[in-house]
């Protein structure tokens, strides 16, 4: 154990080790990280909250890390004290770019795999990303204390993947602490120290940027060249914006101000800016005066891939939703939105997300932290629609789909990796085929486990693909995907009409072969969800003016409570008052009353909601 930690700005690069942990969601990364903090003496046991690194409630509940942080830990090996910077990486498919920036801040990666489950697609994708970044990998099997652990079997698998000897795979238990000290030793021994030019103008890469209510934006950087010092002016090279460096320091595990950060060091900056957009992940920080001329490579603007309309169930909550999005945006550079109006749902926002998890997280935070009840419309990807007159329209919402003769439509495509036990190959192929997938290749990781690579239209993945995959493989398959360009496809817009009135919330863009199935499904759902009215209500699904599916809600004939309640008039009145309340939650589509619950249930991808709405 090293009590005399090295001082920031005075640590030679050869005593620094920058690393991250690549792991699947529930493979025990946070527990291992906690254990490292404790063993290195950075956090004492009493003060340790479980899973120290995950700060947000949602992360803690879902067991995933959304926002990465970096902790500086001292570690002594053979009388020499080293400085270890553990950079936490986000653990989900939607945050690939953020992961890539975290990896770029490291020289080494601990590949952490649950000894009872083996590697998952997500981890594999990040492993490949780490290998592309030339990171040194230390393979580690975690949870070896579990009775179900099969360390030998999965050591083989890991060795096969990274090309090492199965005997080189470390075995630890974050829970009991077994093997963690050895792992820390190996981190010092195996991971290279950072290399940079101490005399060059400062260049530091932003790998995370977090909004803090009290301090404004806290920016996490890895210094590549030169040195950053407090009070100097810095420049963000992508925007040329300059800021004063109010504070600079390291996290250990609380922020500790420092005299500066030198080559290879990892720490935080505070400039007083209020919006993470002014301090973007991947950007290069340099000195405002005599700064660098060439930024570090790899910066990308975040690009929303999935769009969905978010509407408050109670229309009067619209201003709260707007303020809430404005607040979330401060901490989420990838979140984009603009006001949108739906005839059926009222006032809301069209929101762009990196992917489905991002959508779910944002929605959940809005509901939880701002006490909002929301409806989200069917997620849509970004289509480029070219008309016969060669005009091209970008469509993120079916309502923007142009009228007129369409020459071609392109849709985004992803490259997906699926890992699963080999017995499920058939069902996975069937599923991917039904989702217009294209098999690129397949490799056995071991006789029992297979890696399948597909290109799939993104639109097919945003619609319950992961759930279908899980159910077809009894939960064993894992999935990762990354954007892989566009393709043209035979796509059409399907509208849903109630008594001849288009219900914009139910319009969607689908492949022509699936239009009929969508129409039948939606018309059937609505028939079950919309209560009978005083008149007959036809439900139609149509492509343009061509009706492809039709259902009818028959007129209601009896609603009277013809039960004998004796003298319990209060009950009768209360039942009626309840109907009055229910009526407030009705939206009018033309002259048809549609309960809010029907929208929610029809838009949800899970069948049980239909049952709930009927109650």
């Amino acid at each position: 154990m090293a009590r005399n930690a090295l001082q920031p700005a005075a640590t030679p690069p050869d005593l620094i080790r920058n690393f991250c942990i690549i792991a699947h969601i529930d493979h025990g990364k946070s527990t291992l990280a906690d254990r490292m903090l404790q063993i290195t003496g950075v956090v004492d046991e009493r003060a340790m909250r479980a899973q120290y690194l995950d700060r947000m409630d949602i992360e803690r509940e879902r067991g995933i890390t959304i926002k990465s942080q970096a902790v500086r830990m001292p570690w002594q090996l053979e009388e020499q004290t080293f400085c270890l910077n553990m950079i936490d990486t986000p653990g989900h498919v939607d945050f690939t770019y953020e992961v890539s920036r975290s990896l770029a801040a490291c020289e080494g990666a601990v590949l952490l795999v649950d000894a009872a489950q083996g590697i998952e697609a997500q981890t594999l994708a990040n492993l490949y990303l780490a290998m592309e970044n030339d990171l040194t990998i230390i393979p580690v099997l975690n949870k070896i204390d579990l009775p179900a652990a099969q360390p030998e079997r999965y050591a083989e698998e890991l060795a096969g993947l990274i090309g090492c000897d199965p005997g080189d795979v470390l075995k630890v238990s974050g829970k009991t602490g077994v093997g963690v000290e050895e792992l820390l030793d190996e981190i010092v021994r195996q991971f290279p120290s950072p290399v940079g030019d101490a005399d060059a103008p400062a260049r530091a890469m932003i790998f995370d940027s977090v909004y803090d209510t009290y301090r404004g934006v806290v920016t996490y950087v890895r210094v590549v060249d030169g040195e950053l010092k407090p009070r100097e002016r810095i420049e963000m090279m992508s925007t040329r914006a300059t800021h004063e460096l109010l504070e600079i320091g390291v996290i250990s595990p609380e922020p500790v101000p420092a005299k500066g950060l030198g080559v290879g060091e990892v720490g935080y900056l505070i400039t007083g800016v209020k919006d993470v957009r002014q301090s973007r992940v991947g950007d290069t920080v340099t000195a405002a005066r005599d700064g660098a001329t060439e930024p570090l490579g790899g910066y990308q603007d975040p690009k929303p891939m999935v769009f969905s309309g978010l509407y408050p169930i109670d229309g009067s909550d619209y201003p709260i939703l707007r303020d809430a999005l404005d607040k979330l945006k401060l901490n989420d550079a990838a979140l984009v939105y603009e006001p949108e109006t739906s005839a059926a749902l009222g006032f809301g926002f069209r929101v762009g997300f990196l992917g489905m998890l991002h959508l779910e997280i944002v929605r959940e935070r809005l509901e939880r932290e701002f006490d909002l009840d929301l409806i989200s419309t069917l997620p849509s990807v970004v289509y480029e629609v070219t008309l016969d007159d060669e005009r091209t329209v970008t469509v993120t919402n079916p309502s923007e789909f142009p009228e007129g003769k369409v020459a071609s439509i392109t849709e985004p495509v992803v490259r997906a990796t699926i890992l699963a036990p080999s017995e499920f190959i058939g069902s996975i192929m069937e599923l991917c085929q039904s989702r217009r997938g294209n098999l690129l290749g397949m490799d056995y990781l071991s006789p029992e486990r297979v890696e399948m690579r597909y290109t799939l239209p993104l639109a097919e993945i945003v619609f319950d693909f992961f759930d279908a995959l899980k159910s077809k493989t009894r939960g064993y398959a894992s999935l990762d995907y990354e954007p892989d360009g566009e393709q043209t496809a035979d796509l059409v817009k399907v509208d849903v009409l109630l008594q001849g009135d288009k219900v914009d919330a139910f319009s969607t863009i689908v492949h022509r072969d699936k239009a009929y199935a969508y129409g039948v499904m939606m018309a059937g759902k609505l028939k079950d969800l919309i209560p009978r009215q005083q008149f007959e209500v036809p439900i139609q699904a149509a492509i343009g003016s061509r009706v492809i599916a039709r259902e009818t809600i028959r007129a209601i004939r009896k609603d009277v409570l013809a039960k004998c309640y004796g003298g319990d008039i209060s009950r009768k009145r209360k039942l009626l008052e309840k109907q009055k309340e229910g009526k407030k939650r009705m939206k009018m589509v033309g002259s048809v009353e549609v309960p809010q619950e029907a929208f929610i249930a029809a838009l949800s991808q899970d069948g049980s909601a239909v049952e709930k709405a009927k109650k």
Binding site: I556, R557, V560, A562, G567, I569, R573, K580
Partner: protein, 402 residues
């Protein structure tokens, strides 16, 4: 709910102007039927320490004394009773002598108006010529028999144990004793076909009752039937089944000379109407005696504790058995006037409606829900058409502007 059951002084006005009735609840049954969510108990449920069936009349008499006392303290003259209705449960689980003793208690406490209507519900199996004669002697004028259906498999689903053939014998006994007869039917039981219902209606008409009630079966949470529906053991008929059956009943009853006077009630003559029932829809006053019974006096609605033992403890200690009450606001009173009044065949006088209500009339007439001639009569009223009777809740909501 005040411990002594005291009523606000303002109820005195209503007590001296509106007719006054007594509802007497008898919360006992031999077995509980699968669909029933009424406040009733079998002997097994009550157990050895429960309020005994035999001592029930004593508890009811204690509440009658309390009722008289509470009414006196409002300052109103003690009203004589226009209607008495003994319901359940199964009132005839009590000996006819006990029923008579309670009726005598009502007479002693309040007095019966000349020509008062005095009804008891009865299970057809429990009515013998002797019982009927005893009740007549005690002052009863009317018996309402729980026929429900004449089709054995429907009765089985409802878990009614009476023998369909026994209904005719009971009707005969009641009529021989000089009492009016009413029959209760239930439609929309799972498994009941259109023909089953026709047979029940035809059989009921053939018995020539003075009065007939037909109620739709409502599956209530907590009943055995609800559990069976949830488990998929029985299937509820589709939404239109009840509408079809109601229309069938109306057609058959009208052809047999019955006229509807309330959505679920028909009678052959004006005299055959259940005046006690009508008083509910007209917003009159009544005191509900017994466990779980509901009362209404001058805009105050209250309800008693449900369990017979708790009830007996309260009333025998001289306390009110009231479990809770509501003092209706003017808005609630108005809502109830519309909700209740519109259900009557005589219609709701348009003078009882506010501007919103009156403004809704033309569209309701145009939609075929309200009767055009009644709306245009010299004393115009909102009177439901046959279609309107089935959609009465819609009519009420539209009259209230909801």
């Amino acid at each position: 709910m005040p411990v002594d059951g005291a009523l606000p002084a303002h109820t005195a006005t209503s007590l001296s102007t509106r007719q006054f009735g007594i509802y007497l609840h008898v919360p006992f049954c031999r077995v509980r039927c699968g669909y029933c969510d009424f406040n009733t108990y079998t002997l097994a449920e009550l157990g050895p320490h429960g309020a005994g069936v035999s001592s029930y009349a004593d508890a009811a008499l204690a509440e009658l004394a309390l009722a008289r006392d509470v009414i006196e303290r409002t300052g109103a003259a003690v009203p004589q009773v226009s209607t008495v209705f003994v319901g359940g449960g199964t009132p005839t689980m009590l000996a006819a002598a006990d029923l008579n003793r309670m009726l005598a208690g009502i007479r002693d406490a309040f007095g019966l108006l000349p020509g008062a209507e005095v009804t008891t519900e009865a299970n057809p199996d429990t009515i013998t010529p002797e019982v009927a004669k005893t009740l007549t002697a005690g002052g009863f004028t009317r018996i309402s028999l729980g026929m429900q259906s004449s089709v054995p498999h429907v009765l089985r689903t409802l878990e009614r144990t009476h023998d369909p053939a026994g209904v005719a014998r009971a009707v005969q006994a009641v009529r021989d004793a000089g009492l009016q007869v009413s029959l209760d039917l239930i439609y929309g039981t799972p498994g009941e076909t259109h023909d089953d219902w026709r047979r029940s209606i035809d059989d009921a008409i053939a018995l020539a009752p003075d009065h007939l009630s037909a109620y739709a079966l409502v599956v209530e949470e907590g009943t055995k039937l609800a559990a069976q529906v949830r488990r998929g053991q029985v299937r509820m008929p589709d939404d239109d089944d009840e509408a079809n059956k109601y229309e069938l009943a109306e057609t058959a009853l009208a052809a047999a000379g019955f006229e509807w006077y309330e959505i679920s009630n028909w009678s052959r003559t004006t005299d055959g109407r259940c005046r006690h029932n009508e008083s509910y829809w007209r917003g009159d006053n009544w005191w509900g005696i017994g466990p779980g019974a509901h009362s209404h006096i001058g805009g105050v609605r209250w309800w008693n504790v449900k369990h017979p033992a708790a009830y007996a403890n309260r009333v025998l200690a001289g306390d009110s058995p009231g479990a809770g009450r509501e003092l209706l606001t003017p808005d609630q009173t108005y809502d109830e006037t519309v909700l209740l009044g519109v259900r009557l065949a005589e219609g709701l006088p348009l003078t009882h409606l506010d501007d919103t209500g009156r403004a809704a009339i033309p569209a309701l007439v145009a939609d075929g829900l309200l009767d055009q001639s009644a709306a245009a009569a010299p004393a115009p009223a909102a009177r439901l058409t046959l279609r309107g009777r089935l959609l009465a809740d819609t009519v009420v909501r539209r009259l209230l502007g909801w």
